[in-house]
């Protein structure tokens, strides 16, 4: 008789367990315990666990055949942005430059007082416009306004004195007329 004849138990232990009436009664009266629910409901899951944030979409670099093209466009974009930055840094100075040139002309050509006055007025007006509208052009605009102011002052002095008739003699006008006739 093997030692495992009593349903796998050793002889002595198996005999004592089966024959004891108290144990048999306990087993018969034992309540059936229903197993706990293994899968919790969705509401329980949400309550217990935090929501995992959705991962942010990140553009993956394209390592395909377009890499060379993308590097070229990147280079050209950088060059364009650098040129644009330089352009923006310099800014449009059209009014300031023209104001400065008109101011120089009004100062140098103040011999012809009417022409100097026109150029001076243009220099002052453009200089003021440049200061208001254009960035990084203040220096040139101020220089144009100053030169225009000097030219305007000289022109006005000449015109006032000529209008007063105290200094301009008819000979000057005669000389002008003769020069025009020579043409």
């Amino acid at each position: 008789m093997s030692e495992f004849d009593n349903n796998g138990f050793e002889n002595n232990e198996a005999a004592e367990t089966v024959d004891n009436p108290e144990i048999i009664e306990t087993v018969e009266n034992a309540e059936t315990i229903e197993p706990e629910a293994i899968s919790p409901s969705a509401a329980d899951l949400e309550a217990e666990f935090e929501k995992v944030p959705e991962p942010e979409f990140t553009a993956q670099p394209d390592f395909g055949t377009e890499s060379a093209y993308s590097s070229e466009t990147q280079y050209s974009t950088d060059a364009q942005s650098q040129y644009a930055a330089q352009e923006n840094e310099g800014g449009s100075k059209v009014f300031a430059i023209i104001s400065l040139v008109c101011g120089i002309v009004s100062v140098v050509c103040c011999c012809t007082s009417w022409f100097a006055v026109i150029a001076a007025v243009a220099a002052i007006v453009l200089g003021i416009l440049s200061i208001n509208k254009e960035e990084n052009a203040k220096g040139m605009a101020i220089a144009g306004i100053i030169c225009g102011g000097v030219g305007l002052l000289i022109g006005i002095i000449v015109l006032i004195m000529a209008a007063a008739g105290s200094a301009v003699s008819p000979d000057v006008l005669q000389e002008y007329v003769e020069k025009l006739e020579d043409l």
Partner: protein, 147 residues
């Protein structure tokens, strides 16, 4: 002889405006030359009297400019410097600027940064006022007439 590679480049905003004004001035000069060649009218010989000088008996800031230009065209550089010193400086700056802009624009030859010529314009203005002050002082204080 190595040929220049045509590589067009764009000028900056500052140099572009000055370059176009320079081309306009060059056009006026060419027109004056053509006028002289075709009709014989020499605009430098017109010699309009200076109204400021006639009225105040003082020299104006541009006094001597026409005489200086005439002397320069005849090759008399010292006389040109004596009559109107800023003229020679202005012509040199103008020639260098226009040449460099032309080479940069059409052949991509390296040039200075945009707006670098502005300092020379300021120097020209300062020379104009400085020579005017010298002439006034010489006339009023020492009785020396520059013209």
């Amino acid at each position: 002889m190595k040929s220049l590679k045509t590589c067009k480049s764009e000028l900056g905003s500052n140099d572009k405006v000055l370059y176009e004004l320079g081309l306009a001035a060059l056009g006026i000069g060419i027109a004056a030359v053509l006028l002289y060649v075709c009709t014989g009218i020499n605009v430098l010989r017109l010699n309009y009297p200076c109204v400021f000088n006639k009225v105040t008996h003082l020299c104006c800031p541009g006094c001597g400019g026409t005489r200086a230009l005439r002397a320069l065209l005849h090759g008399e550089i010292l006389k040109s410097l004596y009559d109107f010193p800023p003229l020679l400086y202005g012509i040199v700056v103008y020639a260098v600027f226009m040449t460099r802009c032309f080479l940069y624009r059409h052949f991509g030859v390296k040039k200075s940064r945009d707006g670098a010529v502005n300092v020379h314009i300021y120097i020209f203005i300062a020379l104009v006022f400085a020579q005017w002050a010298v002439k006034l002082v010489a006339q009023l204080c020492f009785g020396y007439y520059w013209f």
